[in-house]
């Protein structure tokens, strides 16, 4: 493989300098590496753009197998590369459910074949996501896919005993259970955040306590059995308080927040436009502010997209009939820049930590989330942070267009992504 010299890049937002890629590895980082690069190296003029370790998404729905009309491993990983990601964790709620070694190996293999982004499958906690019987967690871990993260996402592991057993069982191979915290009885028929807006719109309320009560239970379970637990898409100020308390007690809990919960509120539901329908629901301004603060102070460890593609017809309908979820891979970094960087809450090193380093650690994604320094795998993302522009869904690589940001002006644009030294995105175009 040839050499690539990235010139004048602000590594983690620092002073401009050069980064030399040789094969799949970062060969050197320094103020001027023209001499080291030598003749024939491909030059990428960064011109003051910010260089980050390739982003890692712990929460992606790739929909394959089963719902290839909304996304495939190919289209989903192309969307990921467009958004600056070099690794995504694919959720288990496919058809069939990723609850066996066979399904997770298929998804893993497709990711490798396409080569846009590493795909690390997440295994279901219970057979068929039904919450009754543990799936063969060990077999999925021992498979070629090497599954370490398990989740019934889309559904909550609501049975306390099943949750306890799963937390205990995955300790044998260093796994982690990622909980979709949603008390099912409290959310029957729920359509949006329960509060002032739901009362007015007459849409079924989704109380914050349905999320918070499960998180409270699960951190206590994790403490009791000495396991680590990961909380998916935290969405309320109360959830933040519980996780903060659990961490102060030394409980091994990590948590994620989605970009949309950092920006959007339930006020948007007044439009009855199902593009804003998502699980967990958009909450209030107060929640948004608490989530931002928690991501800044580390109470929330990571940003995860919960990229949830849906075909047009599943959103072009009345609210109650619409599917829940929004695509997010191609807008995540922009939303984080808007809500966290441009507000002064996080610097770019902090963004690298929340969107690459920490998610890679939680999911044990070897070779990802590494420092940008000599000898490390060349998984890198170059971001034009000075850019501002309107989101145009027509330009998405994802097969689906269900974004809440269409026409909205957002900052930042990923121009280059390298996966082990191979460019997957050049000047904003997929290779």
């Amino acid at each position: 493989m040839s050499k690539i010299l990235i010139r004048g890049a602000k590594v983690l937002g620092g002073e401009p300098g050069d980064v030399l890629i040789d094969g799949g590895t970062v060969a050197a980082v320094g103020p001027d590496l023209a001499a080291e690069a030598g003749e024939g190296a491909e030059i990428v003029e960064a011109g003051g753009k910010v260089l980050l370790p390739g982003l890692v998404d712990l929460h992606t729905h790739l929909r394959e197998p089963g719902r290839e009309d909304s996304e495939t491993v190919l289209t989903g990983t192309r969307a990921a590369a467009s958004g600056g990601y070099t690794a995504v964790f694919a959720m288990a709620n496919t058809f069939p459910v990723a609850d066996t070694a066979g399904v997770v190996e298929q998804v893993y293999r497709l990711g490798r074949e396409h080569g846009y982004c590493d795909v690390q499958p997440i295994g279901a906690v219970t057979v068929g996501l039904e919450g009754r019987k543990l799936a063969e967690l060990g077999a999925m871990h021992d498979s070629a896919a090497g599954v370490t993260v398990f989740s019934d996402d889309g559904k909550c592991v609501d049975d306390a005993v099943i949750m306890r057993r799963a937390l205990e069982y995955v300790k044998a191979f260093g796994g982690v259970v990622a909980q979709h915290a949603q008390e099912p009885r409290l959310t029957e028929g729920a359509q949006m955040n329960e509060g002032v807006v739901s009362a007015e719109l007459g849409l079924g309320g989704w109380p914050a306590v349905a999320e918070e009560s499960i998180i409270a239970r699960d951190v206590l379970l994790a403490e009791h059995v000495g396991s680590r637990v990961h909380i998916c898409h935290l969405s309320t100020a109360g959830s933040v308080e519980i996780v903060r308390w659990a961490k102060s007690r030394g409980i091994d809990v990590t948590a994620e927040v989605t970009p949309h919960h950092l920006l959007l509120t339930d006020e948007m539901v007044r439009s009855y436009n199902p593009v804003y329908k998502v699980n967990p629901p958009l909450r209030t301004d107060r929640d948004v502010m608490a989530l931002r603060e928690a991501l800044a102070d580390g109470t929330i460890d990571i940003v995860a997209t919960d990229h949830a593609p849906h075909p047009h017809e599943d959103k072009d309908c009345e609210w109650a009939a619409a599917a829940m979820g929004m695509v997010g891979l191609e807008t995540a970094l922009s939303v984080v820049q808007e809500t966290m960087v441009d507000t002064g809450l996080l610097d770019w090193a902090g963004v690298a930590d929340r969107m690459s380093v920490r998610p890679a650690q939680i999911g044990r994604a070897t070779g990802h989330g590494r420092p940008v320094s000599a000898g490390e795998p060349a998984n890198l993302t170059l971001v034009d942070t000075a850019y501002r522009g309107q989101v145009d869904p027509a330009g998405f690589a994802s097969r689906s267009r269900n974004t809440p940001y269409a026409g909205r002006e957002l900052p930042g644009r990923v121009t280059h992504t390298w996966l082990r030294g191979k460019a997957t995105l050049v000047d904003g175009k997929l290779t």
């Binding site: 719109l201 007459g202 007044r270 436009n273 017809e313 072009d316 009345e318 609210w319 009939a321």
Partner: protein, 331 residues
């Protein structure tokens, strides 16, 4: 000019009074030997009913026919909708047949709003009840009934309901009638009190422009009207209240409670009544109960709404977007 009627909250005080005054005109038609006006001759109105509601559909149909409109009735049952056709396709199919207005009843809150604002169709949309959201013509006919009873048929012209106190009792949580009435009565200057067990009040009700009480008895002596809302027996199974009998004892209106109302006060019910549950037969059949009158007034109100929307009358809300919930800007 407003092209649609989606929510009672969209109406200004002057809009609402204009509708009530127009309804008085329409009511006179009912007293004529030939109960018909030529106003909407050659216009087509479709009654698009995704939920069973014979009462509301018949009321709209009567109003449309008295205005000489061509009427198409579409019910979801047995239609392409039951075979999976979307609301969008159904609406576009109907519009392709040349429909000027769509009167829609739908089980999903916000469905009429979507129909009016998604660019699917151009016809005027009238909400005939959506989920647990709004039922604006019901609120209008209730206000019309109240104005006639409390102010007077002729004396009421041009008047609102300033200073009147109206108590709504029952399943507020699941009631589109309650939401519409709170909005409209507030706009017309009335004071509104909601009475229900706490389980049947929505979280967030504190932001509504009304008072809330858990105790029916304490509200009676000050009420100019009591509006009883239907309580479905099935709610009992979801633990909203322990038993039908307990509900009736605490929140039902019987003769003894009615006697504690001021002499001029009326008892209202949007129907269908569950006798023995929220209202006793003694109250339902008393001259103070306006339930039957409300039905008659419903036709006049719906005639007025159709007349004003399709006749091109200009409501006060100039340049208002076609819709409800635009008060809060997107953040």
């Amino acid at each position: 000019m407003q092209r649609h009627l989606i929510s009672a909250a969209d109406l200004t005080r002057d809009d609402a009074v204009l509708i009530l005054d127009t309804a008085e005109e329409m009511a006179r038609v009912a007293d004529r030997p030939i109960k018909k006006l030529p106003t909407l001759r050659g216009r087509t109105v479709v009654n698009l009913f995704f939920e069973d509601s014979t009462r509301t559909r018949i009321s709209f149909e009567a109003a449309e026919k008295r205005l000489s409109a061509d009427v198409i009735n579409f019910t979801a049952k047995g239609s392409s909708v039951s075979k999976g056709e979307s609301l969008k396709d159904t609406a576009q199919t109907l519009e392709a047949m040349g429909v000027d207005a769509v009167v829609i009843r739908h089980g999903a809150s916000g469905a009429p709003y979507r129909l009016a604002n998604s660019g699917w169709i151009d016809a005027a949309v009238i909400n005939a009840g959506d989920g647990t959201h709004q039922h604006p013509t019901q609120a209008l006919l209730d206000a019309f009934t109240l104005r006639r009873r409390l102010v007077g048929r002729d004396a009421g012209l041009g008047q609102d309901l300033a200073g009147r106190r109206v108590t709504l009792v029952g399943d507020i949580l699941h009631s589109r009638v309650a939401r519409s009435n709170v909005d409209l009565l507030h706009t017309l200057g009335a004071e509104v009190v909601l009475v229900a067990p706490p389980t049947l009040l929505p979280v967030g009700v504190g932001s509504w422009p009304c008072e809330v009480s858990y105790d029916l008895d304490s509200t009676l002596s000050k009420s100019d009207a009591v509006m009883m809302l239907r309580v479905q027996r099935e709610r009992m199974n979801a633990a909203f209240f322990p038993t039908e009998r307990e509900y009736s004892r605490r929140y039902g209106l019987d003769g003894e409670r009615m006697a504690r109302l001021p002499e001029h006060a009326v008892v209202m019910h949007p129907g269908p009544m569950v006798r023995g549950m929220e209202i006793t037969a003694e109250v339902a059949d008393s001259p103070r109960c306006t339930a039957v009158e409300q039905v008659a007034n419903g036709v006049s109100i719906r005639m007025a709404v159709l007349y004003l929307l399709l006749g091109g009358a200009v409501f006060d809300t100039k340049n208002a977007p076609a819709a409800t919930h635009t008060r809060t800007e997107e953040k």
